[in-house]
Symmetry: C2
Subunit: 196 residues, 2 copies
């Protein structure tokens, strides 16, 4: 994300600026996780312990702030996907799926944004990377014959987005989450050897 508006050749950020930037990001992550993208910038400033003007110096608009956070999160998810690449493909896909849905409840903003195409507008490249990671997992599981070959990426993404959303807004508990995902996973399994 762009460092604060600085003219001229880029000098490193001043120490206090760097410190505040981190604090703001942390506070924003909390606030938006709890309240979704409608959380107020003022609340972010309050939690970060800075004045509201400081927030706007670092992130000229609220969307910039949201984008910065989404960027962090997406990178983290992509990394997680990578870490799962050793596992058996079907397990990798289902574990990744489950993990995202589980986190959804704690990350309102993410779900809000994922739902509203807002992300694609803000950080298209990263979304592509993320989608690619899911695609990889899907293909591998299909190659291994443990996920139905008729299934395509769009519907997997669709189910991922909608169950995350549901888990969040509906406040699903662990049990309901498991049962619901079990149905989805059963639906993804080839007809022959469906295992619940």
């Amino acid at each position: 994300m762009p460092p604060p508006r600085t003219a001229g050749p880029d000098r490193p950020m001043r120490a206090d600026a760097r410190r505040n930037r981190v604090r703001i990001l942390e506070a924003a992550e909390q606030v938006f996780a709890e309240q979704g993208s409608s959380g107020s910038t003022e609340e972010v400033a309050r939690r970060a312990g800075v004045a509201i003007g400081t927030v706007f110096r670092h992130f000229p608009t609220k969307d910039d702030l949201l984008a910065a956070i989404m960027k962090n999160l997406l990178e983290q998810l992509v990394a997680e996907a990578g870490a799962l690449s050793d596992s058996e493909p079907r397990t990798a896909l289902f574990t990744f799926f489950t993990r995202i849905v589980e986190q959804a409840a704690a990350r309102k903003a993410v779900v809000d944004l994922l739902a509203q195409t807002g992300v694609e507008i803000m950080i298209p490249e990263l979304v592509t990377v993320f989608t690619g990671a899911v695609d990889d997992m899907l293909r591998q599981a299909q190659t291994a014959g443990t996920v139905d070959p008729e299934v395509h990426l769009p519907e997997v993404m669709a189910l991922l987005a909608s169950t995350s959303q549901g888990a969040l807004h509906g406040g699903w508990d662990a049990e309901l989450r498991r049962r619901t995902l079990d149905i989805v996973f059963a639906g993804l399994t080839p007809r022959a050897d469906r295992a619940r």
Copy 2:
């Protein structure tokens, strides 16, 4: 829903009041369908061709207006469920499910509300009736042996809510909707005779 605040013995509503009430309800249905529950009361008034004060005379708060609309919709859905009771149970359940998801895209407010527990607070009895209708369909399909007996109502409701939500926010086209629901339905089918 309560007629406008009238003291004393309830006289029938005046002709112009009745007319305006209907207009407001129609306008609100449109506006909230398009913009979700964040649509403004002023826009509703504009489309109804009345002053904003009139809207507030009929529905003292925005929530009252939203509740009135949700009531209409829920009643309609319950009626649809009833009309399907002649069909083969599995078909009834899946048709109902599909229909709701299909309408989701045209009814933002509904999805918003269904998602946020807002409805239960506003019109608990009707929600119970609605849930009951789904439960009936589910049980019958299970009795007929065409839906997995391990599946319970909560996860069906969860999937219903989340796919509706997904279809709306994600702007799924007809094809994606079908493919996604196919996976869900496959997941609901007993292992033995899963038919795609």
